[in-house]
């Protein structure tokens, strides 16, 4: 079995090289801005760019809005499907898979054609409307992940018993969802939220085609016009993605395991 382990190390080593070399190379490249020796000039240049601050801030706001809307849309749906309408489940699951089947560029093309300024719902007719449309587009992109996270969270708690107990205590349905169910699946919801954030923060296609001043189009613009800043931005983006995924891992340790009743 010694040979087995040798091959495993070899495969792992080649894989690790493929994934680490670009990161090292990008970091090295980002330090090359000043001729002759390494410096963090490119990072200073990025952080002092007012467009960086503006677009990043914009994307963070849209990302947070998308997370809130996503939670409001997904949590009640998962709750009622689980509790009262299990027959609806395959249908809902199929819908949540659709964003994986239909590429983002198709969705945004559909939005632009369907919700233009002369349509019944003219989202793209105003800046505010387009912001709303962008938020909804991001909720859609993140739907498969948010749904799965919330669904997994609700599987680990006893929805039925919690609901009955709350009803006996006189709680109304919005109270049950908001004050009983949601706190119990908070870790799962937050995982979905961080995943949404990681997907949304540097998204290019939809933001660019809707002409919004988001971080993704800014990245692309810098890439086309500057030499060293893109490398710095790639490192920054990687750290943001890492941070979001790291938060999910950390949260996973706090996940409640009250009861995994037969499901």
């Amino acid at each position: 079995m010694k040979g087995n382990r040798f091959w495993a190390w070899l495969v792992f080593g080649i894989g690790a090289a493929y994934f680490l070399v670009p990161l090292i190379a990008t970091f090295e490249f980002s330090l090359r801005m000043r001729r002759g020796y390494y410096s963090f000039d490119s990072y200073a240049s990025v952080f002092s760019d007012p467009r960086f601050q503006a677009t990043f801030g914009y994307s963070v706001v849209i990302g947070i809005l998308a997370i809130i809307v996503g939670i409001l849309v997904v949590v009640p749906a998962v709750y009622f499907v689980r509790l009262r309408m299990p027959w609806l489940r395959p249908f809902v699951e199929f819908l949540t898979l659709m964003p994986l089947i239909i590429p983002a560029i198709i969705l945004v093309y559909g939005y632009i054609r369907l919700y233009n300024s002369s349509s019944i719902i003219p989202f793209t007719g105003s800046a505010l409307g387009t912001d709303i449309l962008l938020t909804c587009a991001y909720v859609t992109l993140a739907l498969p992940y948010m749904y799965r996270a919330v669904d997994t969270g609700m599987r680990t708690i006893d929805v039925q018993t919690l609901t009955e107990a709350a009803q006996i205590a006189g709680a109304k349905t919005p109270q049950i969802i908001g004050r009983i169910i949601l706190p119990n699946i908070l870790v799962a919801v937050l995982s979905g939220a961080f995943l949404t954030f990681a997907i949304v923060i540097g998204e290019f296609t939809i933001a660019s085609l809707l002409n919004r001043p988001a971080f993704g189009p800014y990245l692309q613009n810098i890439g086309a016009n500057r030499a060293y800043e893109p490398a710095a931005l790639a490192i920054i983006s990687f750290i943001i993605t890492w941070g979001a995924m790291g938060m999910i891992n950390v949260l996973g340790r706090f996940a409640p395991r009250t009861s995994a009743r037969t499901d």
């Binding site: 091959w7 495993a8 792992f12 894989g15 749906a77 590429p103 998204e203 290019f204 983006s237 993605t241």
Partner: protein, 295 residues
Amino acid sequence: MSATNLSVASPPSRRRLSFEWLGVTPFIIFAVMFLILPTLYLVGAAFVGRDGQFTFENIAGLFTDQIIAAYWISIRISGASAIIGALVGLAVALAIIRGRLPAGLRSAVMTFSGVASNFAGVPLAFAFISTLGRLGLVTIILKTVFDIDLYKAGFNLLSFWGLTLTYLYFQIPLMILIIAPAIDGLKKEWSEAASTLGATPWQFWRYIGLPILWPSFLGTLSLLFANAFGAIATAYALTGSSLNIVPILLYAQIRGDALQNPGLGAALALGMILITAVANIIYLVISARAERWMK
């Protein structure tokens, strides 16, 4: 069947039933407005001519050299990055799960895969330009230390292989994430039973391990294909509009009506929907079949 379930579920009280629907309605409205209607609209628009009449002209219009070439290179890049990504991802997953490597390595690889599979888009293009671009670290090291000039040897990051190599950065981790549970599903007893009966490790994998993983492998392959086929941000940031792949062509069409025919743009979109839908349906069908081994 759903009708009988409905009638069983409805008796309690009318008020509760309305609450149920109130809870699910936002989701349904959302899905209709932002998923179903836009897609159906494009599918419909692909069959409407400039005069507003039903026509097959747009579909026929797809069969020009430029568009066929775009579909062909898109399919080739998606296919190559899916097949290589699936094979390498399977090998890495097998190495970390079954290769008796230190236990901590597995969780490190899985965490990194989660990050890398989400590290797509524009920054990924930047990373590969810094690595394998004309001034990239690897290019320069190969040139100065090993005297190998990648670009004189015909390599170009803005080409089929360059893009495929870049796409692998999110394809391989995605494969690892999806195939790992299937490899976990290979029970220890099976390899023990096999070796008790005198099977070599090679025979175990040839006749037991790989045939069981095969459906998951094929299924994930089609998912990776669809994943690459719809991707645009990385390719656009890497090559601008110089590489003629379908998503970039469609991007140019949406931006500035590059094909000078909105109907043709919808037809282009319809082609993409069909190709990714077929790939994903294959994935769903195969993964449903593969699940019987995962209990």
